[in-house]
């Protein structure tokens, strides 16, 4: 870099003059330009290890060091945002930032977390934000790093989660060290992910970086929350700070208030809900914070309305009498007013869809049902990726953040409830309480089937795990769809941090790093983080287990090792049946067996305590106990369990 500096044209001047240069070029006559006279060649340096080299006087002073560089100032800005960690796989295009974080910044807030894959870095940020409510930072190469990170960025984009990412790059072609830095340079690094980040920028000066860094954080944290990306030139990181930083300042951060529903729409929503005979509340990503849960409980209780929790976030206590998630479809088919809160897929929730040779669908709601939705996603749309789901014909669409709107909605509901209406609503309460108890009992009855099966049933796995953690301050940092949702059906969830929802974009490879990231956030609160880990998901980037061990991130991982990409086994089975051929061959290309992967050995090789594989259900409880003892010492542990498919 010293060589770069010595011969550099000031980059700002370079960019400033570019337009003028281009104009001159356009106006110039089409005659061959005279080749400028070559600069005189400097005298050849004396050969190394020669007396001249050791004793002679250099012809000029070669400045090789600098006290403060641009990356130091960048760390000042990052620190001002309260960012606790930087997750990164090291890369030379951000070596300046890397070194400033660990030395100038003292490796504290942010602390550098070593990751083995950029997809892991971003997914760790995803899981961390689900618990902490704010982003950590991710550093990556602007080229190969962002390419690796792309799927994880997309997941976070779909899941409305803030990701704060900085990519390194080298813009000035004359400063790139051949050949690697040419391959690691790009004109527009953000282009490859621009379809699924909320905002990106390419700052060209340190003041520009400062403003854009604060602006990016603010944009990422304003609902709908999403990833942001800054691409930072290596020159800007590595060159000395001009004037020793006398003119630099860190802009202040004031987060934007989340958008709230307008008073007229909120009052109308309240009127419809109060008047409804069978209202239903459906929450998906409704609660952004622990307060969101309490606000939804308050609204549901005011209306005595059932809640269907789609658990994109932990929205509603699982054993609250009004939690009617297990009866959701029945309630939807009977309701006259639906209030959706930050729903990912309104249409899909209100329709059945049949995946046969003829794809058909039909509404499951009654004709005339009133549909209200409150969601911030309406405020931000992009075209290319289709995660916005099918168009829904809403009666009242409130483009606002649900959690921020709930207080005024609940207040309006309470204002409109007459005494007689309140009495009528109370009659619903006993019915729903009984139904909630009945759902729990039905789940327990269903879980009893195949109780002693080997491979172990996912119901047994969930019950054994619950027995060991229920008296702790636990946090389930994985999704539960692939274990037939047993934890949500059998356990009691009543705190926001006890569940973090899914990936958003259904991109596999999210689970393990998101769990480690969430566990990283939980560490300072002393929580017991628990991850039910799908085997196929772990194999995308298992190196994140090493990251957990290296940074002493306490996390209990229980493998749901069904030895297959089981969702795809079923998909291939559908095709084989449709064609009436080879119905016994769906495992080809979809199984992860022969040989079975020994996840305990894999984890042990990365420094984790690990046991398994366990296929006798009687051995599972004691193994989990032993692993929890390790996790309580502040380390990760893994139990490999051979399980039923779902």
């Amino acid at each position: 870099m010293a060589e770069r500096k010595k011969t550099s044209v000031n980059r700002r001047d370079f960019l400033k003059n570019a337009a003028a240069g281009a104009a001159v070029l356009a106006a110039a006559p089409a005659v061959p330009a005279k080749r400028p006279a070559p600069e005189p060649r400097p005298a050849a340096p004396p050969p190394p290890m020669s007396p001249e080299a050791e004793m002679g006087t250099p012809s000029s002073v070669d400045v090789l060091t600098a006290d403060r560089t641009g990356s130091d100032f960048m760390v000042d800005v990052i620190k001002s945002l309260g960012i606790e960690y930087v997750c990164a796989n090291p890369g030379s295009s951000f070596r300046g930032l890397h070194e400033s974080v660990i030395n100038y910044g003292g490796n504290r807030s942010p602390e550098f977390i070593t990751c083995c894959h950029e997809e892991s870095s971003v997914a760790m940020g995803h899981g961390y934000a689900k618990i902490e409510g704010k982003p950590l930072a991710i550093f990556a190469h602007g080229t190969v790093g962002i390419q690796h990170a792309a799927m994880a960025i997309y997941n976070a984009y779909c899941d409305r989660v803030p990701i704060y990412m900085i990519g390194g790059n080298i813009m000035d072609a004359t400063k790139r060290i051949p050949p690697v830095e040419w391959s690691h340079s790009v004109q527009d690094a953000a282009a490859m992910v621009r379809d699924y980040v909320k905002w990106d920028d390419l700052p060209t000066s340190l003041p520009h970086f400062a403003e854009s860094a604060v602006r990016a954080y603010k944009i990422a944290m304003t609902p709908p929350m999403m990833p942001v990306l800054l691409v930072v030139d290596a020159e800007l990181q590595e060159n000395p700070i001009p004037d020793d930083g006398a003119t630099l300042r860190v802009p202040s951060l004031v987060l934007a208030g989340p958008p709230q529903g307008d008073s007229g729409s909120v009052a109308e929503a309240a009127r419809l809900l109060v008047a409804a005979e069978n209202p239903v509340l459906i929450a998906d990503r409704a609660a952004r914070t622990p307060a969101g849960m309490a606000l939804l409980v308050e609204l549901a209780e005011a209306l005595q309305a059932p809640v269907i929790d789609q658990t994109g976030r932990m929205n509603f206590p699982s054993r609250h009498p009004l939690n009617q998630t297990e009866r959701g479809r029945r309630l939807i088919s009977n309701t006259d007013v639906i209030l959706g809160l930050e729903m990912n897929d309104v249409w899909g929730t209100l329709h059945s869809f049949r995946d046969q040779l003829n794809r058909t669908s039909q509404p499951i709601t009654q004709p005339g049902v009133k549909l209200i939705h409150i969601g911030a996603a309406t405020l931000f749309s992009k075209s290319n990726y289709q995660n916005f789901q099918r168009y829904s014909e809403l009666d009242l669409d409130i483009a606002a953040d649900a959690e921020a709107t709930l207080p005024s909605l609940t207040e309006s509901v309470k204002r409109q409830l007459t005494a007689n209406r309140k009495v009528a609503l109370q009659d619903r309460a006993a019915k729903f309480a009984a139904a909630n108890r009945e759902s729990l009992q039905q789940a327990r009855d269903a879980a009893a089937y195949a109780w002693d099966a080997s491979p172990i049933s996912t119901a047994r796995l969930s019950a054994e795990l619950w027995a060991q953690i229920k008296d702790e301050d636990w946090s389930l940092v994985s999704t539960v769809g692939f274990v037939s949702r047993w934890p949500l059906r059998l356990w009691s969830f009543d705190k926001y941090h006890q569940y973090i929802g899914g990936s958003g974009g259904y991109g596999i490879g999210y689970g393990a790093p998101a769990a480690v990231g969430a566990a990283l956030a939980n560490r300072k609160y002393g929580r017991l983080s628990v991850n039910i880990q799908n085997d196929g998901d772990l194999m995308y980037a298992p190196g994140v287990l090493w990251t957990a061990a290296h940074h002493r991130i306490p996390l209990l991982t229980i493998m749901h090792n069904n030895r297959a990409y089981h969702q795809e086994v079923m998909q291939v089975q559908i095709m084989a049946n449709r064609h009436s051929r080879g119905i016994d061959r769906a495992s080809i290309g979809t199984s992860i067996a022969d040989p079975n992967i020994d996840y305990a050995k894999l984890a042990q090789g990365m420094g984790l305590f690990a046991e398994g594989p366990i296929s006798d259900p009687k051995e599972l409880g004691p193994a989990i106990q032993r692993a929890i003892a390790v996790v309580k010492r502040g380390e990760p542990a893994l139990i490999d369990v051979h399980t039923q498919p779902r």
């Binding site: 995946d355 003829n358 039909q362 099918r390 049933s457 998909q571 769906a586 779902r646």
Partner: protein, 246 residues
């Protein structure tokens, strides 16, 4: 892919299909199963109220049975009444569902009932399904005959267990036939429906279950699988399992 003219759906459920395949078994909620009781009661009521003028079954309805089959599937009639309109008997947990193929109602009474059903059956407005379409549906129902498949005494449960695994039944219904809330595969052990209904469903399932044709699975092998499912034990009472009472 031949996409239905009733409802074309290229992409909205793509991600859902990728991660959450729900089958018709699970989609059939308690409501829809119990709702069908209304039609059964109504049919009985209709016959009881006017015994002397019981309508003659329409021998040759004007509708198009082929189109009626499509309407039967698109409108979800199969969800309560089964893929052959065969209905089902009452069990400890689920209400009975009436057989509607063939229906004993005359076409006008059939139209009236679908528009304004009693009990819990959801009404179908003319916006959802026209009179002409209901006539086609009626023709389809009248064209169906109850299945007469007999369960062979030679069925081999052990071979059925092998086939259950190799033909992929376990994928949605679990290795022990325990079912799954995620796949939508219902619990099958021990199987509760008659062999004839089992065959009928497997050959032409409602909902999401992929069909198993005779070409892929002969009747004799289905009998073995049925014998295996019949041999599955009942679950232990959950009250007696400490871990399920936490």
């Amino acid at each position: 892919m031949n996409r239905s003219s009733v409802e074309t759906q290229p992409s909205a459920a793509a991600s859902r299909r990728s991660s959450y395949r729900t089958s018709g078994f699970a989609i059939v909620g308690c409501l829809l199963l119990t709702a069908a009781v209304a039609l059964f009661l109504s049919e009985r009521s209709t016959r009881a109220q006017a015994p002397a003028q019981a309508p003659k079954p329409a021998a040759a309805p004007a509708g198009n049975a082929k189109n009626g089959k499509q309407i039967f599937e698109a409108q979800g009639c199969f969800k309560c009444h089964g893929s052959e309109g065969q209905g089902r008997s009452q069990t400890a947990k689920e209400s009975a569902v009436p057989q509607i193929a063939p229906t004993r109602l005359a076409l006008p009474a059939f139209l009236r009932f679908v528009r304004s059903p009693t009990g819990q059956m959801p009404p179908y407005s003319s916006q959802q399904v026209s009179d002409s379409e209901l006539t086609d549906l009626y023709a389809f129902l009248q064209s169906l005959a109850p299945s007469k498949v007999e369960f062979p005494s030679t069925a081999n449960a052990q071979n059925g267990q092998r086939l259950y695994a190799s033909y992929g039944c376990y994928e949605c219904h679990g290795g022990e036939a325990q079912g799954s809330a995620q796949t939508g595969g219902s619990r099958l052990g021990p199987i509760q429906i008659p062999f004839a209904s089992f065959v009928s469903y497997v050959r032409q399932p409602a909902g999401q279950m992929p069909p198993y044709t005779k070409k892929a699975v002969p009747d004799a092998e289905l009998a073995d699988i049925y014998a295996f499912l019949k041999s599955r034990p009942e679950a232990a009472p959950s009250k007696g399992i400490a871990l399920l009472n936490q």
